[in-house]
Symmetry: C2
Subunit: 179 residues, 2 copies
């Protein structure tokens, strides 16, 4: 951030009065520009014992498989975001269930939320950000080709809970992987 | 938003290629400035059958009572945010429990998360944004003086679950109140 989105003046980084963290502050109009984590929401859409995955057509992780998910938008609820992303990425209609997984990823300032859901039909197909969509049984999940660690963590918990016959809310925090 | 935070150019509102929502786009460098919901995190800190409330010293709702909570910061997890806000607003140390309540407030682009927690001691006091802190039994909660609807919704669910002897995850979406 270099300029103030309100007045166009230059911003600098300083700790505002009464605050304890450095913020981008406008030198001209003194507006404080807070930056906060973003919420990514998606769902595990089930059809009998299979779940729906999408192969990504865009960066990052083009060609890898993921759950339908994306950034929550202003003006919607987390559940609405999950259903919308599933429609956009997999052209799939779902009946949404409860929140199943909350994955914190502090080093990229994101919180991922995954709902359980039931596919209403198998009339799904690849959306704009998807190369292909498919149903996978637990045994068929292409683990080395899963796009994101949050999705792997969520899916492992999902299949584990399903085997145990009891779905709980799971909360995890991912650490940055040293290169 | 009037100016681009990257280059200082003027922004206008348009739907970018491949998108389906209006965004603030820089006319000069074409940067798209997404705006997304913010996460507010707090906790219900219990001491025996009482819970900790804070009377706000700042706007909005100065003088009203609330759970210790505030905006999640970049670089932290939701649980870390809940513990930090409780320390900042009520100078209270807690052992955090599971997520208890997720309240969507789409008309102000916020998601509120409240954790259950256990106070480690009663050595709490008012932080900078708090006039006073106090423990309340269910019967003593000053309902008409609760600052925010998300807090009322969370507390009603909390006491109801406590009476039932079983805490579940609660999810709610608040609607804008017509004036």
């Amino acid at each position: 951030m270099n300029f103030c989105s309100q007045c166009g003046g230059e911003v600098s980084v300083s700790i505002p009065d009464g605050d304890n963290l450095p913020r981008h502050v406008c030198r001209q109009c003194a507006t404080i520009h807070y930056q906060n984590p973003k919420v990514v929401v998606g769902c595990i859409a089930a059809w009998d014992d299979q779940i729906l995955l999408c192969r990504r057509s865009i960066a990052p992780r083009r060609g890898f498989w993921t759950l339908p998910a994306g950034f929550m938008e202003n003006g919607e609820s987390t559940a609405e975001a999950a259903a919308r992303e599933t429609l956009e990425e997999a052209c799939a209609r779902v009946e949404l269930g409860p929140l199943f997984s909350l994955v914190n990823i502090p080093h990229i300032n994101q919180v991922h939320l995954f709902y359980r859901a039931r596919l209403l039909d198998t009339d799904f197909s690849a959306g704009l950000e998807t190369l292909e969509t498919a149903l996978f049984s637990e045994a068929a999940v292409p683990w080395p080709e899963i796009a994101f660690q949050s999705v792997s963590v969520c899916l492992h918990a999902y299949f584990s809970d399903r085997r145990a016959g009891c779905f709980l809310l799971h909360e995890d925090t991912l650490q940055a992987v040293p290169r």
